[in-house]
Symmetry: none
Subunit: 211 residues, 2 copies
């Protein structure tokens, strides 16, 4: 996240973050040049391009409406010191690795849906937990944890390759991963094949749009 910002790029980004409310209108390149003590719009623009590439600044596409931060960028400050929000990190579909999203976004989550420990959010693809009331497109809140009790629903990594969301039953020589869908079979593994990546603690669904 925010891997490769140059010193100057960081400086410009910080300035925009701190002064976003102070501009009546989003600043133009010319105005920013003055603030940054630059004499050339062109120079500034190369930095702006880099910030656009990092999804921190809106791409204006030649529109003359000033330099404005993206929602993503604004989230960074809002949620950096705020413990009511959790990161939405990717998608989970039974049998595939977790598909990480390119830009992590944050969602404000009610206290009742999370735990004291670190949690993150995944979006469910597929119907393997249908009978547990977890549908395609639902969000799930996962507590980051490497162990589980029998009967909990876990994010399990199988053979270090496939991720899945299933009930878990662990016995000395066998680990069962059980979908809540009667059309699917329970899967049996040796304990060392299954790595627990987290435990389901909450679930959410929107009935309005496709997010």
């Amino acid at each position: 996240m925010m891997k490769s910002l140059t010193r100057k790029q960081q400086e410009i980004f910080d300035f925009l973050l701190q002064n976003q409310d102070k501009f009546p209108h989003p600043p133009t390149l010319e105005e920013l040049c003055v603030c940054m003590s630059l004499k050339s719009r062109g120079s500034l623009h190369t930095h702006i391009k880099a910030l656009i590439k990092e999804n921190l600044i809106e791409a204006p596409e030649r529109k003359q409406r000033g330099i404005r931060l993206t929602e993503y960028a604004k989230e960074m400050i809002n949620h950096s010191d705020d413990q009511s929000s959790l990161p939405f990190v990717g998608f989970i579909a039974a049998g595939k690795p977790i598909e990480a999203v390119e830009n992590i976004t944050y969602m404000t989550i009610p206290e009742q849906l999370k735990t004291q420990k670190p949690c993150y959010i995944l979006k469910v693809k597929g119907d393997s937990m249908l009978e547990q009331g977890i549908y395609d497109g639902d969000w799930v809140i996962i507590e980051q944890r490497s162990y589980a009790r029998n009967g909990e629903i876990v994010v399990a990594l199988i053979n270090k390759a496939e991720a899945t969301l299933k009930f878990i039953e662990q016995y000395p020589h066998e680990t069962l991963l059980i979908p809540a869908n009667s059309t699917m079979e329970a899967m049996r593994y040796k304990p060392e094949q299954v790595e627990i990546q987290g435990v389901l603690v909450g679930q959410m669904r929107s009935y309005t749009k496709n997010h």
Copy 2:
């Protein structure tokens, strides 16, 4: 949401917002020109057209004296301070009135689970929406609304006595309330027996505790 106005457009819109009470009649283009220090009505009109396109100003349709803000624009200032918490007001169980809680509590809800309009939160008792993935103990986010489209899930008040959460189908002489549970029957009412109190827009479930 007011995506991107030009500087001049923003300036004009701001002026109208701040001075909407000060004009005995809605201002004419000529009067606005004076306020904005413009010499040409035509120039101003292009900006006005842009604001009309953004649904911030009513189109006067050649009527004279017609520059006025839309309801949408007026809402924007009222709802500019949107907070992300919604009130948890009570329990809903099929066939009983909504059971209000004594102390209303507030839950912070992610943007993705609500709408622009006022919403509130209920907790579900019972299994009448089981096959829609809404379980006993789930929270539901309800948009306060007195009408619904067929196929939406609504909070319906029957005979001014019983509240329930069901699919709705409305026909000229009959209103159907359909549970998503194949062991239960659809219920048929006369339209005047059914009062819509809200529409389901989101759902949440905790897997950890009993709240």
